[in-house]
């Protein structure tokens, strides 16, 4: 799995951090997404995919 995030598009809704807190975090100053790992272990993969699906700004991309 290979995750990328587009910080320019992010609107800091926090859905990713709420869904997969071990994969995504938010910057302290404005809540913009920070990627903690671009290749999470298998047990976090579903949460990461779910986070990409709920991101309202379509700022999270996942390649298999």
């Amino acid at each position: 799995m290979k995750i990328t995030v587009e910080q320019d598009k992010c609107v800091a809704a926090g859905q990713c951090t709420a869904t997969a807190p071990d994969v995504f975090d938010q910057r302290d100053e404005d809540g913009v997404v920070v990627l903690l790992t671009d290749d999470p272990p298998a047990e976090l993969a579903d949460d990461a995919r779910d986070a990409a699906a709920v991101c309202p700004a379509l700022a999270i991309h996942i390649a298999p």
Binding site: D8, V11, A12, A13, G14, Q26, D30, V32, P56
Partner: protein, 415 residues
């Protein structure tokens, strides 16, 4: 402007139904039947709004997400043909500062990043103990008082109002003033004059507060926003607009979700039991998502305009045509939620609702709202297992005429 529909499928102007539409008598929790009928075959149709214009109304879940995520769909209320909520909103366009509510990316991004800081997932999680304490205190006070009690006044309104006041640094003592002005400002039937007056009063109040915070900063969001005014990054009126927006959006919405959910749960005792007996915070969190979906309080239809031709749902929305995105209906879209009119607190995919919108304007305060609701729903029925309505359901007054649905007051009692 009054543009006649061009699509053959929608017929002559005379046949275009009016929006907003009433809900069915005795069915306070379901979308208007006429809207369902209108969009039974297609996920979008034409409706006629207060100024005689005939924007599209979109009810399909997938179509809403596609449009709300589409850069050809704008919230710029200055564009001719924009489907304003009511006369009051239309009349005040020239006076309203630019903000997240009426700007598109990239202008929107700048405003949004200033507002999001206090509402990140982690910051809001850190507030959970405070929210729990306030909830417990409010319930204590209600239990010590007379029966029946008004749950809106006792709990639903004060909790979110205290939280947003505290986060922003707005004196809670002023809550009667801002609650009243905010409530009138978002009524469907408000006149141009009244809308300007309530907006003006709130705006003046926030301007004074921003100026005060600039002079004597405190540890709150308005002081941070005021510092940007001092630095010359934004104007005082933009700062005041951010404060007004957060204050309005941040109290009545959550309050409505609390009051309305209590009615819905008391009407569905089996579901109430799921919540009351839940030991797992995940069950409570899931229940909150399902209630956000099922109650879909933002029911007036979010307003947008197409800036280019857009093909969607078997129709073409032309550049310059208005779009009304009726979020509540998408939460009841059977393509996404099987048995959509069933309140099922264990529903697997409830969190795919559109209750907070979608795209770049999706709710700034959603994590705060979630924690408030998790705490209240998780606490209220445990602390008062015998809670019940003090009046029959048909005596409860629902906010049919407001942009956010809810109950005006909620008489409850207990053993």
């Amino acid at each position: 402007m009054s543009d006649a529909p061009t699509s053959a499928a929608t017929g002559s102007p005379a046949e275009v139904p009016e929006w907003p539409m009433p809900r069915a008598e005795g069915c306070p929790f379901d979308p208007p039947p006429a809207l369902r009928e209108l969009t039974a075959q297609k996920p979008l149709a034409r409706v006629r709004i207060w100024d005689g214009s005939t924007p599209w109304i979109v009810t399909g879940h997938a179509e809403q997400r596609a449009l709300l995520g589409d850069p050809r769909v704008s919230v710029d209320e200055r564009l001719p043909g924009f489907p304003h909520w009511h006369e009051g909103m239309a009349a005040a366009v020239a006076y309203r500062p630019r903000s997240v509510f009426n700007s598109d990316a990239p202008e929107h991004t700048g405003f949004r990043r200033i507002m999001t800081r206090p509402f990140t997932f982690k910051r809001v999680e850190a507030l959970r103990p405070t929210i729990q304490k306030i909830t417990d205190d409010l319930i204590d006070t209600m239990l010590a008082g007379p029966r029946p009690a008004d749950l809106v006044e006792a709990l639903a309104l004060p909790l979110p109002t205290l939280m947003i006041s505290e986060l922003l640094g707005v004196p809670y003592e002023d809550h009667d003033f801002f609650q009243e002005n905010a409530a009138r400002g978002i009524a469907h039937d408000v006149s141009a004059e009244e809308s300007m007056r309530t907006f003006g009063a709130l705006n003046d109040y926030l301007v004074r507060l921003v100026e005060k915070k600039a002079a004597e900063p405190a540890d709150d969001a308005l002081s941070e926003i005021a510092a940007l005014v001092t630095a010359g990054d934004i104007s005082v009126s933009e700062a005041a607009m951010m404060g007004t927006g957060l204050l309005i959006a941040g109290h009545e919405t959550s309050a409505n979700m609390i009051g309305l959910a209590v009615v819905a749960l008391l009407e569905h005792p089996d579901q109430l039991a799921v919540l009351r007996d839940a030991d797992d915070p995940k069950v409570v969190a899931g229940a909150v998502e399902e209630l956000l979906r099922y109650l879909g309080i933002i029911h007036g239809g979010q307003r947008r305009i197409a800036t280019e031709d857009i093909e969607i749902g078997g129709e073409v929305i032309r550049a310059g045509e208005g779009i009304v995105v009726e979020l509540f209906s998408a939460n009841r879209d059977a393509h996404v939620f099987p048995d959509p009119d069933l309140l099922d607190l264990r529903r697997e995919n409830a969190r795919h609702h559109n209750a907070f919108g979608f795209g770049i304007h999706q709710c700034v305060g959603q994590q705060l709202a979630r924690v408030e609701l998790q705490v209240v729903y998780g606490t209220l029925f445990r602390r008062i297992p015998t809670l019940r309505l003090a009046e029959p359901l048909d005596r409860i007054e629902f906010k049919h005429d407001r942009l956010a649905y809810g109950v005006y007051s909620l008489p409850v009692t207990w053993e």
